[in-house]
Protein backbone atom coordinates (compact mmCIF):
# COMPACT_ATOMS: atom_id res chain seq x y z
CA UNK A 1 0.00 0.00 0.00
CA UNK A 2 2.78 2.40 0.87
CA UNK A 3 4.62 1.69 -2.34
CA UNK A 4 1.41 2.05 -4.28
CA UNK A 5 0.78 5.39 -2.64
CA UNK A 6 4.28 6.52 -3.44
CA UNK A 7 3.97 5.27 -6.98
CA UNK A 8 0.73 7.14 -7.36
CA UNK A 9 2.21 10.33 -6.07
CA UNK A 10 4.96 10.24 -8.63
CA UNK A 11 2.89 8.65 -11.36
CA UNK A 12 3.74 11.32 -13.89
CA UNK A 13 7.43 10.64 -13.41
CA UNK A 14 6.85 6.93 -13.65
CA UNK A 15 4.80 7.23 -16.81
CA UNK A 16 7.40 9.53 -18.32
CA UNK A 17 10.18 7.15 -17.33
CA UNK A 18 8.33 4.19 -18.78
CA UNK A 19 7.68 6.07 -21.97
CA UNK A 20 11.35 6.94 -22.31
CA UNK A 21 12.46 3.44 -21.43
CA UNK A 22 10.15 1.71 -23.88
CA UNK A 23 10.99 4.28 -26.55
CA UNK A 24 14.69 3.77 -26.02
CA UNK A 25 14.29 0.02 -26.34
CA UNK A 26 12.05 0.09 -29.37
CA UNK A 27 13.24 3.11 -31.28
CA UNK A 28 16.83 2.96 -32.49
CA UNK A 29 18.78 6.09 -31.74
CA UNK A 30 16.07 7.48 -29.52
CA UNK A 31 18.30 8.54 -26.66
CA UNK A 32 20.30 11.48 -27.81
CA UNK A 33 20.51 15.21 -27.89
CA UNK A 34 18.54 15.37 -31.10
CA UNK A 35 15.62 13.62 -29.61
CA UNK A 36 15.80 15.79 -26.54
CA UNK A 37 15.89 18.91 -28.65
CA UNK A 38 13.04 17.63 -30.77
CA UNK A 39 10.93 16.38 -27.95
CA UNK A 40 11.31 19.70 -26.18
CA UNK A 41 10.49 21.69 -29.26
CA UNK A 42 7.50 19.53 -30.05
CA UNK A 43 6.31 19.80 -26.49
CA UNK A 44 6.81 23.52 -26.14
CA UNK A 45 3.69 24.75 -27.95
CA UNK A 46 1.48 22.46 -25.93
CA UNK A 47 3.60 23.24 -22.91
CA UNK A 48 3.31 27.01 -23.04
CA UNK A 49 -0.46 26.79 -23.28
CA UNK A 50 -0.45 24.12 -20.59
CA UNK A 51 1.26 26.55 -18.22
CA UNK A 52 -1.68 28.90 -18.44
CA UNK A 53 -4.17 26.10 -18.16
CA UNK A 54 -2.41 24.63 -15.13
CA UNK A 55 -3.03 27.82 -13.19
CA UNK A 56 -6.60 27.98 -14.40
CA UNK A 57 -7.37 24.38 -13.53
CA UNK A 58 -5.84 24.80 -10.07
CA UNK A 59 -8.16 27.76 -9.59
CA UNK A 60 -11.02 25.40 -10.42
CA UNK A 61 -11.86 26.71 -13.87
CA UNK A 62 -11.35 25.52 -17.41
CA UNK A 63 -10.79 27.24 -20.74
CA UNK A 64 -11.74 25.43 -23.93
CA UNK A 65 -11.06 28.49 -26.04
CA UNK A 66 -7.24 28.39 -25.82
CA UNK A 67 -6.98 26.78 -29.26
CA UNK A 68 -8.95 29.62 -30.80
CA UNK A 69 -6.99 32.24 -28.88
CA UNK A 70 -3.84 30.58 -30.18
CA UNK A 71 -5.03 31.10 -33.75
CA UNK A 72 -6.36 34.60 -33.13
CA UNK A 73 -3.16 35.88 -31.52
CA UNK A 74 -1.06 34.41 -34.30
CA UNK A 75 -3.21 36.01 -36.94
CA UNK A 76 -3.11 39.38 -35.18
CA UNK A 77 0.65 39.27 -34.81
CA UNK A 78 1.16 38.55 -38.50
CA UNK A 79 -1.48 40.81 -39.93
CA UNK A 80 -0.09 43.83 -38.10
CA UNK A 81 3.51 43.25 -39.12
CA UNK A 82 3.48 45.61 -42.10
CA UNK A 83 2.11 48.46 -39.98
CA UNK A 84 3.91 47.92 -36.70
CA UNK A 85 6.97 45.86 -37.41
CA UNK A 86 7.57 42.34 -36.26
CA UNK A 87 8.19 42.70 -32.56
CA UNK A 88 5.52 45.29 -31.76
CA UNK A 89 3.02 43.21 -33.73
CA UNK A 90 4.02 40.18 -31.70
CA UNK A 91 3.40 42.11 -28.50
CA UNK A 92 -0.01 43.18 -29.75
CA UNK A 93 -0.73 39.55 -30.59
CA UNK A 94 0.03 38.50 -27.05
CA UNK A 95 -2.07 41.36 -25.75
CA UNK A 96 -4.92 40.14 -27.94
CA UNK A 97 -4.60 36.76 -26.22
CA UNK A 98 -4.73 38.41 -22.82
CA UNK A 99 -7.73 40.41 -23.88
CA UNK A 100 -9.49 37.25 -24.99
CA UNK A 101 -8.66 35.68 -21.63
CA UNK A 102 -9.94 38.78 -19.87
CA UNK A 103 -13.23 38.47 -21.74
CA UNK A 104 -13.52 34.87 -20.57
CA UNK A 105 -12.64 35.83 -17.02
CA UNK A 106 -14.99 38.77 -16.93
CA UNK A 107 -17.91 36.70 -18.15
CA UNK A 108 -17.20 33.77 -15.84
CA UNK A 109 -16.73 35.92 -12.75
CA UNK A 110 -19.26 38.60 -13.62
CA UNK A 111 -22.07 36.42 -14.86
CA UNK A 112 -21.10 33.58 -12.54
CA UNK A 113 -21.51 31.05 -15.30
CA UNK A 114 -19.93 27.68 -15.70
CA UNK A 115 -16.61 28.17 -17.43
CA UNK A 116 -16.94 24.99 -19.43
CA UNK A 117 -19.94 26.19 -21.40
CA UNK A 118 -18.88 29.76 -21.52
CA UNK A 119 -15.49 29.02 -23.02
CA UNK A 120 -17.18 26.62 -25.41
CA UNK A 121 -19.03 29.68 -26.64
CA UNK A 122 -16.00 31.94 -26.75
CA UNK A 123 -14.10 29.17 -28.52
CA UNK A 124 -16.55 29.62 -31.40
CA UNK A 125 -16.45 33.38 -31.12
CA UNK A 126 -12.65 33.81 -31.12
CA UNK A 127 -12.24 31.33 -33.94
CA UNK A 128 -14.85 33.20 -35.95
CA UNK A 129 -13.05 36.47 -35.38
CA UNK A 130 -9.83 34.90 -36.65
CA UNK A 131 -11.64 33.75 -39.79
CA UNK A 132 -13.30 37.09 -40.12
CA UNK A 133 -10.22 39.27 -40.06
CA UNK A 134 -8.30 37.00 -42.41
CA UNK A 135 -11.19 36.21 -44.71
CA UNK A 136 -10.34 32.58 -43.98
CA UNK A 137 -7.06 32.91 -45.85
CA UNK A 138 -3.74 32.28 -44.19
CA UNK A 139 -1.68 35.43 -44.03
CA UNK A 140 2.08 35.51 -44.32
CA UNK A 141 4.58 37.62 -42.49
CA UNK A 142 7.01 40.12 -43.93
CA UNK A 143 10.34 38.52 -43.15
CA UNK A 144 10.98 34.88 -43.59
CA UNK A 145 14.53 35.15 -42.32
CA UNK A 146 13.19 36.21 -38.99
CA UNK A 147 11.27 32.96 -38.82
CA UNK A 148 14.44 31.01 -39.38
CA UNK A 149 16.15 32.91 -36.64
CA UNK A 150 13.32 32.28 -34.24
CA UNK A 151 13.35 28.57 -34.85
CA UNK A 152 17.10 28.12 -34.56
CA UNK A 153 18.56 25.63 -32.14
CA UNK A 154 20.92 26.84 -29.47
CA UNK A 155 23.42 24.72 -27.55
CA UNK A 156 22.10 21.83 -29.60
CA UNK A 157 19.16 21.52 -27.29
CA UNK A 158 17.01 24.57 -27.09
CA UNK A 159 14.98 26.45 -29.56
CA UNK A 160 13.68 29.81 -28.40
CA UNK A 161 10.33 28.21 -27.88
CA UNK A 162 11.53 25.32 -25.79
CA UNK A 163 13.84 27.52 -23.74
CA UNK A 164 10.96 29.86 -23.10
CA UNK A 165 8.78 26.96 -22.10
CA UNK A 166 11.33 25.57 -19.66
CA UNK A 167 12.00 28.97 -18.18
CA UNK A 168 8.30 29.56 -17.80
CA UNK A 169 7.86 26.20 -16.11
CA UNK A 170 10.56 27.08 -13.59
CA UNK A 171 8.95 30.45 -12.98
CA UNK A 172 5.57 28.82 -12.67
CA UNK A 173 6.96 26.35 -10.19
CA UNK A 174 8.38 29.14 -8.08
CA UNK A 175 5.26 31.18 -8.42
CA UNK A 176 2.92 28.37 -7.48
CA UNK A 177 4.95 27.12 -4.55
CA UNK A 178 6.75 30.19 -3.25
CA UNK A 179 4.52 33.20 -3.69
CA UNK A 180 1.46 34.33 -1.86
CA UNK A 181 -0.70 34.85 -4.95
CA UNK A 182 0.34 31.40 -6.14
CA UNK A 183 -0.77 29.78 -2.92
CA UNK A 184 -3.98 31.76 -3.00
CA UNK A 185 -4.81 30.23 -6.36
CA UNK A 186 -4.74 26.83 -4.68
CA UNK A 187 -6.90 28.13 -1.86
CA UNK A 188 -9.53 29.44 -4.29
CA UNK A 189 -9.60 26.21 -6.25
CA UNK A 190 -9.66 23.98 -3.22
CA UNK A 191 -12.21 25.72 -1.05
CA UNK A 192 -13.48 28.99 -2.44
CA UNK A 193 -15.69 29.64 0.57
CA UNK A 194 -12.87 29.30 3.07
CA UNK A 195 -10.63 31.42 0.86
CA UNK A 196 -13.20 34.15 0.63
CA UNK A 197 -13.84 34.14 4.36
CA UNK A 198 -10.14 34.59 4.88
CA UNK A 199 -10.21 37.72 2.80
CA UNK A 200 -8.82 36.33 -0.46
CA UNK A 201 -10.38 38.01 -3.48
CA UNK A 202 -11.36 34.84 -5.28
CA UNK A 203 -13.14 36.65 -8.11
CA UNK A 204 -10.06 38.64 -8.94
CA UNK A 205 -7.85 35.59 -8.81
CA UNK A 206 -10.11 33.69 -11.18
CA UNK A 207 -10.26 36.65 -13.54
CA UNK A 208 -6.49 37.00 -13.58
CA UNK A 209 -6.07 33.27 -14.09
CA UNK A 210 -8.21 33.47 -17.19
CA UNK A 211 -6.22 36.40 -18.42
CA UNK A 212 -3.00 34.53 -17.79
CA UNK A 213 -4.28 31.45 -19.62
CA UNK A 214 -5.32 33.63 -22.55
CA UNK A 215 -1.96 35.38 -22.51
CA UNK A 216 -0.03 32.12 -22.56
CA UNK A 217 -2.15 30.81 -25.42
CA UNK A 218 -1.34 34.12 -27.10
CA UNK A 219 2.39 33.65 -26.55
CA UNK A 220 2.24 30.16 -28.01
CA UNK A 221 0.17 31.37 -30.95
CA UNK A 222 2.48 34.28 -31.70
CA UNK A 223 5.55 32.06 -31.50
CA UNK A 224 3.94 29.55 -33.80
CA UNK A 225 3.13 32.27 -36.26
CA UNK A 226 6.65 33.69 -36.10
CA UNK A 227 8.20 30.27 -36.59
CA UNK A 228 6.01 29.50 -39.58
CA UNK A 229 5.83 33.09 -40.80
CA UNK A 230 2.11 32.46 -41.15
CA UNK A 231 -1.05 33.37 -39.34
CA UNK A 232 -3.88 31.02 -40.10
CA UNK A 233 -7.38 30.95 -38.69
CA UNK A 234 -7.32 27.15 -38.69
CA UNK A 235 -4.26 26.82 -36.47
CA UNK A 236 -4.65 25.15 -33.12
CA UNK A 237 -8.00 23.49 -33.66
CA UNK A 238 -6.72 20.23 -32.19
CA UNK A 239 -4.66 21.82 -29.46
CA UNK A 240 -7.08 22.26 -26.59
CA UNK A 241 -7.71 18.58 -26.08
CA UNK A 242 -4.00 17.79 -26.14
CA UNK A 243 -3.22 20.54 -23.67
CA UNK A 244 -5.91 19.50 -21.21
CA UNK A 245 -4.75 15.92 -21.51
CA UNK A 246 -1.15 16.95 -20.81
CA UNK A 247 -2.13 18.97 -17.75
CA UNK A 248 -4.38 16.25 -16.36
CA UNK A 249 -1.78 13.56 -17.00
CA UNK A 250 0.52 15.82 -15.01
CA UNK A 251 -1.68 15.33 -11.98
CA UNK A 252 -3.53 18.62 -11.98
CA UNK A 253 -7.07 18.06 -10.82
CA UNK A 254 -9.84 19.17 -13.10
CA UNK A 255 -11.92 20.22 -10.09
CA UNK A 256 -9.29 22.58 -8.79
CA UNK A 257 -7.00 22.87 -5.80
CA UNK A 258 -4.34 20.48 -6.90
CA UNK A 259 -1.63 20.63 -9.51
CA UNK A 260 1.98 21.54 -10.03
CA UNK A 261 4.28 23.01 -12.58
CA UNK A 262 6.57 20.02 -12.48
CA UNK A 263 3.64 17.69 -12.97
CA UNK A 264 2.62 19.67 -16.02
CA UNK A 265 6.19 19.51 -17.26
CA UNK A 266 6.04 15.74 -16.82
CA UNK A 267 2.71 15.52 -18.59
CA UNK A 268 3.85 17.68 -21.47
CA UNK A 269 7.14 15.82 -21.84
CA UNK A 270 5.34 12.49 -21.70
CA UNK A 271 3.10 13.52 -24.53
CA UNK A 272 6.03 15.02 -26.42
CA UNK A 273 8.17 11.91 -25.98
CA UNK A 274 5.30 9.65 -26.85
CA UNK A 275 4.59 11.59 -30.03
CA UNK A 276 8.18 11.72 -31.14
CA UNK A 277 8.78 8.06 -30.35
CA UNK A 278 5.69 6.92 -32.17
CA UNK A 279 6.42 9.15 -35.13
CA UNK A 280 9.93 7.74 -35.33
CA UNK A 281 8.33 4.36 -35.73
CA UNK A 282 5.77 5.68 -38.23
CA UNK A 283 2.96 4.64 -35.93
CA UNK A 284 -0.26 5.82 -37.56
CA UNK A 285 -1.94 8.81 -35.96
CA UNK A 286 -4.99 6.82 -34.95
CA UNK A 287 -2.94 4.34 -32.97
CA UNK A 288 -1.24 7.30 -31.30
CA UNK A 289 -4.69 8.50 -30.35
CA UNK A 290 -5.60 5.16 -28.83
CA UNK A 291 -2.41 5.07 -26.80
CA UNK A 292 -2.70 8.59 -25.42
CA UNK A 293 -6.41 8.14 -24.74
CA UNK A 294 -5.74 4.96 -22.79
CA UNK A 295 -3.02 6.61 -20.73
CA UNK A 296 -5.35 9.47 -19.91
CA UNK A 297 -8.16 7.17 -18.80
CA UNK A 298 -5.82 4.95 -16.85
CA UNK A 299 -4.37 7.86 -14.92
CA UNK A 300 -7.64 9.48 -13.97
CA UNK A 301 -9.21 6.18 -12.98
CA UNK A 302 -6.20 5.42 -10.79
CA UNK A 303 -6.52 8.85 -9.31
CA UNK A 304 -10.18 8.33 -8.50
CA UNK A 305 -10.18 4.79 -7.24
CA UNK A 306 -7.00 4.43 -5.22
CA UNK A 307 -6.91 6.68 -2.23
CA UNK A 308 -3.43 7.71 -1.41
CA UNK A 309 -3.82 8.04 2.31
CA UNK A 310 -5.59 5.37 4.27
CA UNK A 311 -7.26 5.93 7.61
CA UNK A 312 -7.80 9.65 7.58
CA UNK A 313 -11.25 11.07 7.85
CA UNK A 314 -13.12 12.64 5.04
CA UNK A 315 -12.12 15.94 3.59
CA UNK A 316 -13.18 18.93 5.63
CA UNK A 317 -15.88 21.31 4.50
CA UNK A 318 -17.20 20.47 1.13
CA UNK A 319 -14.87 22.05 -1.33
CA UNK A 320 -16.54 24.10 -3.99
CA UNK A 321 -15.97 22.51 -7.34
CA UNK A 322 -16.79 25.04 -9.96
CA UNK A 323 -16.39 22.78 -12.92
CA UNK A 324 -18.82 20.21 -11.73
CA UNK A 325 -21.10 22.51 -9.85
CA UNK A 326 -21.04 25.69 -11.83
CA UNK A 327 -19.06 28.82 -11.26
CA UNK A 328 -21.59 30.76 -9.32
CA UNK A 329 -21.36 29.20 -5.94
CA UNK A 330 -19.55 31.95 -4.07
Amino acid sequence: MRYLALALQYRVGIILGLTLLISALVVPGFLGLTTLNLGLDRASTIGIIAIGLTVLLIAGQIDLSVGSVFALSGVVSIILQPQLGILPAAVVGILAGMLAGAVNGLLVVGLKVNSLVLTLATMLIFRSIAHWITDSQPVSGIDIMFSLKVSQTYLEIFSIRSALFLAAIVLLHVWLTRTIPGRNVFAVGSNAVAAKESGIASGRIIFLSFMFAGGMAGVAGVLQSLVTNTGSPVFGSELTVMVIAAVVVGGTRLEGGRGSALGTLGGVLTIGALTVAMEFQSVPAYIQQVVSGCILILLVVLDRTVHIRPGTGREPARAVQPITQGGGSA
Partner: protein
Amino acid sequence: MTGNKFILAMAAAATLASAGWANAKTVCYVNAADSHAYATPANEALQARAKELGLEILSLSQDFDVQKGTEQLNTCVARGVDGIILWPLDPQAYIPGLARAQQANIPAIIINSPVSDDAKPFLKSFTGPDVYEEGEMAADALNEAMGGEGSVVVIAGQAGNGTTLGRVGGFMDRLKETGSKIEVLDTVNADFDQQKALVMSRDLITRFGDKIQGVYANDDTMARGFIDAWKEAKPSEKMPPIVGINGQKDAFESIRVGDMYATIVQSPAEDGKLAAETIAKILDGEEVDDRLPIPLTVVTSENVDSVEPAF
Protein backbone atom coordinates in the same frame (compact mmCIF):
# COMPACT_ATOMS: atom_id res chain seq x y z
CA MET B 1 29.11 32.29 -38.78
CA THR B 2 26.26 30.98 -36.80
CA GLY B 3 24.80 29.56 -39.94
CA ASN B 4 27.80 27.35 -40.48
CA LYS B 5 27.84 26.24 -36.93
CA PHE B 6 24.18 25.54 -37.21
CA ILE B 7 24.69 23.28 -40.15
CA LEU B 8 27.57 21.59 -38.44
CA ALA B 9 25.47 20.96 -35.41
CA MET B 10 22.76 19.60 -37.59
CA ALA B 11 25.11 17.32 -39.39
CA ALA B 12 26.45 16.05 -36.11
CA ALA B 13 22.97 15.50 -34.86
CA ALA B 14 22.14 13.73 -38.05
CA THR B 15 25.00 11.31 -37.73
CA LEU B 16 24.06 10.72 -34.16
CA ALA B 17 20.48 10.08 -35.02
CA SER B 18 21.12 7.86 -37.96
CA ALA B 19 23.68 5.80 -36.12
CA GLY B 20 22.46 2.27 -35.92
CA TRP B 21 20.13 2.69 -38.82
CA ALA B 22 20.30 0.54 -41.85
CA ASN B 23 22.24 1.90 -44.76
CA ALA B 24 19.06 2.35 -46.73
CA LYS B 25 18.29 5.95 -47.45
CA THR B 26 15.57 7.29 -45.24
CA VAL B 27 12.89 9.57 -46.53
CA CYS B 28 10.61 11.47 -44.29
CA TYR B 29 7.05 11.58 -45.53
CA VAL B 30 4.86 14.15 -43.85
CA ASN B 31 1.43 13.12 -45.04
CA ALA B 32 -1.94 14.79 -44.71
CA ALA B 33 -3.64 12.05 -42.73
CA ASP B 34 -3.50 8.35 -42.14
CA SER B 35 -7.15 7.70 -42.37
CA HIS B 36 -8.63 9.42 -45.35
CA ALA B 37 -10.21 8.24 -48.55
CA TYR B 38 -7.65 9.84 -50.79
CA ALA B 39 -4.64 10.07 -48.52
CA THR B 40 -4.62 6.45 -47.39
CA PRO B 41 -4.27 4.88 -50.84
CA ALA B 42 -1.76 7.57 -51.79
CA ASN B 43 0.27 6.80 -48.68
CA GLU B 44 0.12 3.10 -49.35
CA ALA B 45 1.21 3.49 -52.94
CA LEU B 46 4.07 5.73 -51.90
CA GLN B 47 5.23 3.26 -49.27
CA ALA B 48 5.01 0.33 -51.66
CA ARG B 49 6.90 2.08 -54.42
CA ALA B 50 9.55 3.33 -52.00
CA LYS B 51 10.10 -0.17 -50.75
CA GLU B 52 10.67 -1.36 -54.29
CA LEU B 53 13.17 1.42 -54.74
CA GLY B 54 14.94 0.50 -51.55
CA LEU B 55 13.96 3.57 -49.58
CA GLU B 56 13.07 3.59 -45.93
CA ILE B 57 9.99 5.74 -45.33
CA LEU B 58 9.45 7.54 -42.07
CA SER B 59 5.79 8.35 -42.23
CA LEU B 60 4.40 11.17 -40.12
CA SER B 61 0.75 12.04 -40.17
CA GLN B 62 -0.38 15.61 -39.78
CA ASP B 63 -3.97 14.59 -39.30
CA PHE B 64 -4.96 17.75 -41.19
CA ASP B 65 -3.32 19.93 -38.57
CA VAL B 66 -0.90 22.43 -40.08
CA GLN B 67 0.71 23.26 -36.79
CA LYS B 68 1.51 19.60 -36.23
CA GLY B 69 2.90 19.41 -39.75
CA THR B 70 5.30 22.30 -39.30
CA GLU B 71 6.67 20.64 -36.19
CA GLN B 72 6.93 17.30 -37.94
CA LEU B 73 9.01 18.98 -40.58
CA ASN B 74 11.42 19.95 -37.82
CA THR B 75 11.44 16.35 -36.66
CA CYS B 76 12.43 15.27 -40.15
CA VAL B 77 15.23 17.78 -40.37
CA ALA B 78 16.53 16.90 -36.95
CA ARG B 79 16.34 13.22 -37.69
CA GLY B 80 18.78 13.91 -40.46
CA VAL B 81 16.85 12.00 -43.06
CA ASP B 82 18.01 11.89 -46.65
CA GLY B 83 14.95 13.39 -48.20
CA ILE B 84 11.59 14.88 -47.38
CA ILE B 85 8.24 14.48 -49.03
CA LEU B 86 5.76 17.00 -47.74
CA TRP B 87 2.04 17.12 -48.26
CA PRO B 88 1.36 20.80 -47.56
CA LEU B 89 -1.91 21.87 -46.02
CA ASP B 90 -1.10 25.54 -46.09
CA PRO B 91 0.64 27.60 -48.78
CA GLN B 92 2.94 29.49 -46.40
CA ALA B 93 3.47 27.89 -43.06
CA TYR B 94 6.04 25.29 -44.09
CA ILE B 95 8.49 27.65 -45.71
CA PRO B 96 10.74 28.16 -42.69
CA GLY B 97 10.83 24.41 -42.15
CA LEU B 98 11.69 23.82 -45.77
CA ALA B 99 14.39 26.45 -45.54
CA ARG B 100 15.86 24.61 -42.58
CA ALA B 101 15.78 21.41 -44.57
CA GLN B 102 17.73 23.11 -47.29
CA GLN B 103 20.26 24.42 -44.80
CA ALA B 104 20.71 20.86 -43.64
CA ASN B 105 21.12 19.77 -47.23
CA ILE B 106 18.03 17.66 -47.22
CA PRO B 107 16.21 17.73 -50.53
CA ALA B 108 12.50 18.24 -50.25
CA ILE B 109 9.60 17.80 -52.60
CA ILE B 110 5.93 18.45 -52.10
CA ILE B 111 3.03 16.42 -53.31
CA ASN B 112 -0.61 17.02 -53.98
CA SER B 113 -0.98 20.69 -53.11
CA PRO B 114 1.00 23.72 -54.20
CA VAL B 115 2.63 26.22 -51.91
CA SER B 116 3.29 29.86 -52.49
CA ASP B 117 6.04 30.93 -54.85
CA ASP B 118 8.20 32.01 -51.93
CA ALA B 119 8.81 28.35 -51.23
CA LYS B 120 10.13 27.55 -54.66
CA PRO B 121 13.82 28.04 -53.80
CA PHE B 122 13.59 25.43 -51.09
CA LEU B 123 11.91 22.74 -53.16
CA LYS B 124 13.29 20.32 -55.70
CA SER B 125 9.96 19.49 -57.18
CA PHE B 126 6.22 19.50 -56.89
CA THR B 127 4.71 16.23 -57.92
CA GLY B 128 1.22 14.97 -58.31
CA PRO B 129 -2.04 16.69 -58.93
CA ASP B 130 -2.34 20.35 -58.28
CA VAL B 131 -5.43 21.37 -56.38
CA TYR B 132 -5.24 24.77 -58.01
CA GLU B 133 -5.15 23.18 -61.43
CA GLU B 134 -8.09 21.04 -60.48
CA GLY B 135 -10.01 24.18 -59.72
CA GLU B 136 -9.11 25.52 -63.11
CA MET B 137 -10.20 22.32 -64.84
CA ALA B 138 -13.45 22.37 -62.94
CA ALA B 139 -14.04 25.91 -64.15
CA ASP B 140 -13.44 24.82 -67.71
CA ALA B 141 -15.77 21.86 -67.38
CA LEU B 142 -18.53 23.92 -65.87
CA ASN B 143 -18.02 26.63 -68.44
CA GLU B 144 -18.47 24.07 -71.15
CA ALA B 145 -21.53 22.51 -69.58
CA MET B 146 -23.25 25.84 -69.13
CA GLY B 147 -22.25 27.34 -72.39
CA GLY B 148 -20.20 30.01 -70.77
CA GLU B 149 -22.94 31.76 -68.86
CA GLY B 150 -25.35 31.39 -65.99
CA SER B 151 -25.17 31.42 -62.25
CA VAL B 152 -23.59 28.82 -60.02
CA VAL B 153 -23.08 28.00 -56.35
CA VAL B 154 -19.77 26.82 -54.95
CA ILE B 155 -19.73 24.26 -52.18
CA ALA B 156 -16.29 24.57 -50.67
CA GLY B 157 -14.36 22.60 -48.09
CA GLN B 158 -13.19 23.91 -44.72
CA ALA B 159 -12.53 27.60 -44.60
CA GLY B 160 -8.80 28.24 -44.54
CA ASN B 161 -7.87 24.70 -45.55
CA GLY B 162 -5.16 24.43 -48.21
CA THR B 163 -7.13 22.20 -50.56
CA THR B 164 -10.12 24.47 -50.30
CA LEU B 165 -8.01 27.52 -51.01
CA GLY B 166 -6.48 25.92 -54.09
CA ARG B 167 -9.63 24.46 -55.52
CA VAL B 168 -11.71 27.58 -54.99
CA GLY B 169 -8.89 29.91 -56.04
CA GLY B 170 -8.16 28.01 -59.24
CA PHE B 171 -11.82 27.95 -60.12
CA MET B 172 -12.39 31.64 -59.55
CA ASP B 173 -9.19 32.74 -61.26
CA ARG B 174 -9.89 30.60 -64.27
CA LEU B 175 -13.38 31.98 -64.69
CA LYS B 176 -11.97 35.48 -64.65
CA GLU B 177 -9.12 34.56 -66.92
CA THR B 178 -11.33 33.05 -69.60
CA GLY B 179 -13.78 35.91 -69.41
CA SER B 180 -16.58 33.54 -68.61
CA LYS B 181 -19.94 35.07 -67.89
CA ILE B 182 -20.61 32.59 -65.16
CA GLU B 183 -21.63 34.35 -62.00
CA VAL B 184 -21.07 32.83 -58.56
CA LEU B 185 -24.18 33.24 -56.45
CA ASP B 186 -22.59 32.17 -53.19
CA THR B 187 -19.76 30.14 -51.75
CA VAL B 188 -20.48 28.06 -48.67
CA ASN B 189 -18.13 25.96 -46.54
CA ALA B 190 -19.39 22.42 -46.09
CA ASP B 191 -16.10 21.09 -44.71
CA PHE B 192 -15.84 18.16 -47.16
CA ASP B 193 -18.74 16.64 -45.27
CA GLN B 194 -21.62 15.06 -47.12
CA GLN B 195 -24.19 15.72 -44.44
CA LYS B 196 -23.18 19.36 -44.10
CA ALA B 197 -23.28 19.74 -47.86
CA LEU B 198 -26.73 18.19 -47.87
CA VAL B 199 -28.01 20.58 -45.22
CA MET B 200 -26.45 23.63 -46.86
CA SER B 201 -27.61 22.62 -50.31
CA ARG B 202 -31.17 22.47 -49.03
CA ASP B 203 -30.84 26.05 -47.90
CA LEU B 204 -29.13 27.10 -51.12
CA ILE B 205 -31.90 25.53 -53.17
CA THR B 206 -34.52 27.26 -51.06
CA ARG B 207 -32.69 30.53 -51.38
CA PHE B 208 -31.80 30.56 -55.04
CA GLY B 209 -34.18 27.98 -56.51
CA ASP B 210 -33.95 27.85 -60.26
CA LYS B 211 -31.26 30.49 -60.31
CA ILE B 212 -28.86 27.65 -59.61
CA GLN B 213 -27.80 26.71 -63.09
CA GLY B 214 -24.63 24.98 -62.14
CA VAL B 215 -22.78 23.68 -59.11
CA TYR B 216 -19.11 23.37 -58.32
CA ALA B 217 -18.27 21.23 -55.32
CA ASN B 218 -14.74 21.00 -53.96
CA ASP B 219 -15.10 17.25 -53.83
CA ASP B 220 -17.45 14.51 -54.95
CA THR B 221 -18.68 13.86 -51.42
CA MET B 222 -20.16 17.32 -51.23
CA ALA B 223 -21.44 17.10 -54.79
CA ARG B 224 -23.34 14.08 -53.65
CA GLY B 225 -24.85 16.12 -50.84
CA PHE B 226 -26.17 18.62 -53.37
CA ILE B 227 -27.58 15.89 -55.58
CA ASP B 228 -29.53 14.43 -52.69
CA ALA B 229 -30.85 17.83 -51.68
CA TRP B 230 -31.96 18.61 -55.21
CA LYS B 231 -33.74 15.29 -55.52
CA GLU B 232 -35.61 15.99 -52.32
CA ALA B 233 -36.59 19.49 -53.30
CA LYS B 234 -37.25 19.15 -56.98
CA PRO B 235 -37.62 15.48 -57.78
CA SER B 236 -39.08 16.16 -61.18
CA GLU B 237 -36.77 18.90 -62.34
CA LYS B 238 -33.62 18.42 -64.26
CA MET B 239 -30.45 18.48 -62.23
CA PRO B 240 -28.22 21.47 -62.99
CA PRO B 241 -24.75 20.50 -64.19
CA ILE B 242 -22.56 19.60 -61.22
CA VAL B 243 -18.81 19.38 -61.26
CA GLY B 244 -16.95 17.65 -58.50
CA ILE B 245 -13.37 16.61 -57.88
CA ASN B 246 -11.69 13.34 -56.84
CA GLY B 247 -13.31 10.76 -59.11
CA GLN B 248 -14.94 8.64 -56.45
CA LYS B 249 -16.80 5.51 -57.43
CA ASP B 250 -20.19 6.91 -56.56
CA ALA B 251 -19.45 10.05 -58.56
CA PHE B 252 -18.90 7.84 -61.60
CA GLU B 253 -22.24 6.26 -60.87
CA SER B 254 -23.87 9.69 -60.72
CA ILE B 255 -22.30 10.70 -64.02
CA ARG B 256 -23.60 7.53 -65.64
CA VAL B 257 -27.17 8.22 -64.59
CA GLY B 258 -26.87 11.87 -65.45
CA ASP B 259 -26.99 13.35 -61.97
CA MET B 260 -23.56 14.83 -62.30
CA TYR B 261 -21.84 16.49 -65.19
CA ALA B 262 -18.21 15.84 -64.46
CA THR B 263 -15.61 14.94 -61.91
CA ILE B 264 -11.88 15.23 -62.07
CA VAL B 265 -10.02 12.04 -61.48
CA GLN B 266 -6.77 12.13 -59.73
CA SER B 267 -5.33 8.77 -58.90
CA PRO B 268 -4.00 8.56 -55.37
CA ALA B 269 -1.90 5.56 -56.34
CA GLU B 270 -0.24 7.51 -59.14
CA ASP B 271 0.19 10.45 -56.83
CA GLY B 272 2.03 8.42 -54.22
CA LYS B 273 4.04 6.47 -56.71
CA LEU B 274 5.30 9.53 -58.51
CA ALA B 275 6.44 11.16 -55.30
CA ALA B 276 8.41 8.07 -54.31
CA GLU B 277 10.03 7.83 -57.70
CA THR B 278 10.89 11.49 -57.77
CA ILE B 279 12.59 11.52 -54.42
CA ALA B 280 14.47 8.36 -55.38
CA LYS B 281 15.77 10.09 -58.47
CA ILE B 282 16.83 13.11 -56.51
CA LEU B 283 18.67 10.95 -54.01
CA ASP B 284 20.44 9.26 -56.88
CA GLY B 285 21.65 12.65 -57.96
CA GLU B 286 19.42 13.00 -60.97
CA GLU B 287 17.92 16.30 -61.95
CA VAL B 288 14.14 16.45 -61.88
CA ASP B 289 11.64 18.93 -63.23
CA ASP B 290 10.28 21.34 -60.73
CA ARG B 291 6.77 20.36 -61.71
CA LEU B 292 5.85 16.73 -62.28
CA PRO B 293 2.13 16.43 -62.69
CA ILE B 294 0.13 13.27 -62.71
CA PRO B 295 -2.55 13.08 -65.29
CA LEU B 296 -5.77 14.68 -64.26
CA THR B 297 -8.71 13.45 -66.21
CA VAL B 298 -11.98 15.20 -66.53
CA VAL B 299 -14.60 12.50 -66.52
CA THR B 300 -17.94 13.16 -68.15
CA SER B 301 -20.59 10.86 -69.51
CA GLU B 302 -18.49 10.48 -72.63
CA ASN B 303 -15.52 8.79 -71.05
CA VAL B 304 -16.98 7.50 -67.81
CA ASP B 305 -16.77 3.89 -68.90
CA SER B 306 -13.18 4.05 -70.01
CA VAL B 307 -11.64 5.65 -66.92
CA GLU B 308 -10.96 3.92 -63.62
CA PRO B 309 -12.38 5.66 -60.59
CA ALA B 310 -9.78 6.87 -58.14
CA PHE B 311 -11.21 5.14 -55.10
